[in-house]
Amino acid sequence: MKITEDEVRYVAELANLKLSDSEVQKFQADLDEILVHIDRLNDIDTSQVEPMSQVLYDAEETATLRPDRERPGLGTQLALANAPLAGAGYFKVPEVIKR
């Protein structure tokens, strides 16, 4: 077995994801199956290979840096427009630190 139910609960905590007991059971089985499949990555020799984090191709140098000029942002009103709870120009959230 690659992953236990306790590990599933731990990973759910890391991911800020509330799972029901039946979801924990289901994901334990699913993740186990896919992790067993993923194990085949160990069968291929990559000792001489550089990791590829982005698509690489022969092309002219792409100018990824733009001039550092001031640009208008979205503005508070638009930025807050989809918030479930906002007020006084801020996102409102439940109490973080008890007074």
């Binding site: 991911a15 800020n16 509330k18 291929i44 990791p51 590829m52 984090s53 698509v55 989809n82 439940p94």
Partner: protein, 480 residues
Amino acid sequence: MDIASLTIDAVREGLRARTFTSTELTIAALQFAREENRKTNAYLTFSEERALSGAKRVDETLARGADPGPLAGVPIAVKDVIVTKGLRTTCGSKLLANYIPPYDATAIERLEAAGGIILGKTNCDEFAMGSSTENSAFGPVRNPHAPDRVPGGSSGGSAAAVAQGTAVVALGSDTGGSIRQPASFCGVVGVTPTYGRVSRYGLTAFASSLDHIGPLGRSVRDAALLLQVIAGRDRLDSTSAEAPVPDYIAHLDGNIKGLKLGLPREYLKDLTSETGDLIARAVEKLKKLGCEVRDISLPATDYAVACYYVIATAEASSNLARYDGVRYTLRSAFSDSLSDMYRNTRGEGFGAECKRRIMLGTYVLSSGYYDAYYLKAQKVRALITRDFTNAFAEVDAIVAPVSPFPAFKIGEKVNDPIAMYLSDIYTITGDLAGIPCMSVPCGKTAEGLPVGMQILAKHFDEAKMFRLADAFERAGGACS
């Protein structure tokens, strides 16, 4: 006017000859789309007001005698993971059921600047995660060729709309096959351009190093015309490429004599079904058209699914962290603390497939596992890319299947997620390497289900890919 079979050229000609105005066409197209949508659930939202004001601009431009643009008046559907200012964009998720984006994606700006008319937003798997559009929070899409079957996914709504004729062309997105596979299942053309060819600005991020926006159409020509408009460098996406965009239509000359095509044996060894027969017939047809076909090997293919589901889920777990109940519309009503609010909102908001992928991605990035999974997968990704580079030193393009099977029944595979992942084998390699690839209709099974043929080309060589696909299309596909 037969709305369901319109082409971009027919729209242009109709407007020029004053057979119809852009407003008349838009009204008729919206009415047709609304009626037909009952059969498929392809559209989630119609944008009547925006479409009609766009049509009015086209009509006014024409009345002035000016050029209204290459997509003037063309009814277009847009996958609901691409943001549209002021127009609800759900990503197929309950989390964003009421999300109204404050800006337009670059691809949207460009197609509207070219005169294109957005009819509405199309259904998809939640955050583009899936191969059947069954993972949408707003109900599955039905395949126009067989209503008890899926249209493929995740761009199932866009593919179904084009197949059904409720849009002339559509935008989709592709991370592991989400344009090509539904195009194949619905019998339309679907194109995943080179990574960096089309700006991702405004494409809701799933796996940023793999995400693409691309066109779907009923012909290679229409798909190429749409790509022409949306392609090119955008300063708002630092990964968009400076490479010049050639005139794709100029390459559709039907001449593919002497083109060298590679047939990867790893893609065909397990293909015994009707799909395999159709691909074999397509290859014979391409030989008759003058192509030189040779067997090639892409040895790292067997590791592609494993590689993909590490990288894609790792990136997704990070990208989807933003849906935490603070900024994006949905918040759980039952939380006393901030951390509970995060957990409850995400637990209630995400569907099963998103949760599964967030869990896998978080696991492979968690402490102690990074080297064994993510770093290893990045190295295997380099090997998969090297296979293609080696192949393209010998051949002009690669021909392959899109999916091991045609459209399956709704509900048939929903309880076996791993089998669903494994069926992405032929499409994920193109995304991992970042090369252009597409599905072009090949033929139909005895049951009448469409099957697509995949064409893959080297980076930024969409023109050659289109030339081959167009010649194959003109010749009637595999079966004529």
